[in-house]
Symmetry: C2
Subunit: 444 residues, 2 copies
Amino acid sequence: MKPKLAPAEGAVVAAKGFRTAGVFCDIKRLGTGKGSDKGQKRDLALIVSDVPCAVAGLFTTNQICAAPVKVCIPRTAKGRTQAVVINSGNANACTGRQGMKDALAMTRLTEATLGLPPGYALVASTGRIGVTLPMEQVEAGIPACAALLGSTPTHAEHATEAIMTSDTRPKQIAVRFKLGGKTVHLGGMCKGAGMIQPGMSPNGARPASLPAGLHATMLAFITTDAAIEARTLQRALTEAVALSFNRITVDGDMSTNDTVLVLANGQAGNPRISSLRHKDFIAFSTALQHVCLALARMIVRDGEGVHRVVSVRVSGARSIAEADAAARAVGNSALVKTSWHGGDPNWGRIIDALGYSPATVVEDKVDIGYSTPGSKKILWSLRRGQPTRATFDSLCKAVAPDEFDLHIRLNLGKGEAVLHAADLTEAYVDFNKGNVADPTTLGG
Amino acid sequence: MKPKLAPAEGAVVAAKGFRTAGVFCDIKRLGTGKGSDKGQKRDLALIVSDVPCAVAGLFTTNQICAAPVKVCIPRTAKGRTQAVVINSGNANACTGRQGMKDALAMTRLTEATLGLPPGYALVASTGRIGVTLPMEQVEAGIPACAALLGSTPTHAEHATEAIMTSDTRPKQIAVRFKLGGKTVHLGGMCKGAGMIQPGMSPNGARPASLPAGLHATMLAFITTDAAIEARTLQRALTEAVALSFNRITVDGDMSTNDTVLVLANGQAGNPRISSLRHKDFIAFSTALQHVCLALARMIVRDGEGVHRVVSVRVSGARSIAEADAAARAVGNSALVKTSWHGGDPNWGRIIDALGYSPATVVEDKVDIGYSTPGSKKILWSLRRGQPTRATFDSLCKAVAPDEFDLHIRLNLGKGEAVLHAADLTEAYVDFNKGNVADPTTLGG
């Protein structure tokens, strides 16, 4: 059932029939003479399929949600699209009626420029909140970008750069695998850095099971040449995001703009995956989960100021929801996160956070331990609420690497959850306090 | 009804019939030759009444709660005590059966040393979690402290120093006022600094209305010579804490040890306040609220690394619980807190946090503004979801002072709440990451 995944080149254009490009159109209005030809970061991207695609998406559950999200939700629900236009430098969030007009204008100009039917373009934005889009720049950028569309890895790199905000490096991946005898490609790009604790749902509605008060802007765009029906694609994506993008936190702030989109154009010619019971559904889903998890972990790894990435693995909770709540209390605790930054194996702060989490925790049942990522060899610092004989030095070594797994067993039930979290550093604070004398340093 | 409060000297010994002292007994086992006579910070205090007192208390609702809290809850419920022993440097939390033995041994030694009946002493601890108490030091400290008991402001200063951990300055207050023709005193001391977002209840049980996942060790000890019945005192304290200590946050971490105790010994000779309907109840409650709020704000002001204190005032929520949830989402958001540190009037981050809070928020109804503390003149940055004409410079000036009020009106109902919150600075991160090469730098 599990597909053999091989690496592929080209990220969002690894799949047949997709083209992309990224340009600098000065969304931040830094002024003239600063174009991408002068080394200025690109800020507008297009992803375009040669033919109409099935589409699936998940969107922020923040009640304050950006205009592009409001435009995408109903369009994605229809299951059909052919292009995505994305800008960085401005989130088009909290921009009222003008914001909705601007988001729609972006899709209309994209459709007109590419000769697509109305409603066949999607839009995503990331950057500062509360400032209306500089439409003159955007309206120059879209046709300029369309003129550069192509399918080489360099095109994908330009698009990936264009969606970055405080990201220090591009984030992309592509794989190929076999479905029904045909070679299928699945590739994607994403951006993150700050305001990262996504909690996304297909329609932006808050599920009752979503933990309260949790969640940055992350955007992810995935393309595939697999043939798959839109509703089935949505189910695969919802499951994949539940195990990846919705399981990360940098700073615990959920953005107004979080968006994940998958476009499937069927150009691989595999037998169309028409339902959850189709023989190729699990293989496709597994590949999608792999791509989503790889992209999600890149977001945490490159989070603002992040030095250490810690996968908090909670098991033995009374329910999955309690396991999730416990992992989020630990992964978002300022004191736990600063101890990770200091390389301090401080289990006192961890058990304190567990104790105030909504999860049921019994002190003399709690186990806390460490391993290298993915290893089964755990060094326990606490067993059944009692410090083990592990030495302080050995525990310090366990939390010294840039990435490690934190294992928490509550020993009360069968609920399990994993949260990919990050330390809290002076660099995060310094970056996000900005400099009011230079408003271009002030984040979203 | 409102009593006229005059300042008084002596903090916990302002009230008649109380004595206190603080000594250094080396709870952190820094070694010999470092006594308080050598300028080392005191680490053990006693508060003693000449006669038995009515007592009321509130305790952490963290499920992982320290041994001294477990000892105090049933003793406080009985409503009668005569002494409190307090140590800093070690929280006696997550110390299992030995921890309970040690906490009880502290009360027994205090009772024996002072000649009190069994069960007449309470105990509180603060400091590192997960290390058993150095009982040799404690057992030397209690009689040494008892030998120094006295009623001068200097005695109170020594006790206040002894309960400090990462606090940079002592926190104390006392007032006097008239009740039934008699002069009554009410005074207290507290400590805070980090792991501060208390959510306390009289029996440590978690009320359903408590926001999930919120809350440092704070300890507060208040004494009064008012005559008041224990159950009535508990009601007055529960109300006062709901408006003070339970309405602060430094880092959003709720401690295992949070404790507030009030001892009332009746030595003022006022007519005993025997119920909520007693004519002097409101006057006493008002004075207690004043003392609790003053102490609570001192904790935020001196929080670890804190530069700015912001009172988040939410009104117009659908309920008080929703107002509280909204205020906590804003007051604990890493991005909002770093913007306060930067002096950045970033309303985008504020509305983002409101949007992911459990409170209902409608974008085009939200007002956000600033005032100097207590002033009614508000500079609005956002009205009904739309940026106002207030200039960036004027908004920067509004958030530049060390203390300001942030006004958030949701305009959906009548729910109101205030949260006294703090910024997040590089100093907080630096302090709490500690230095594993010197384990004495590693916090609780």
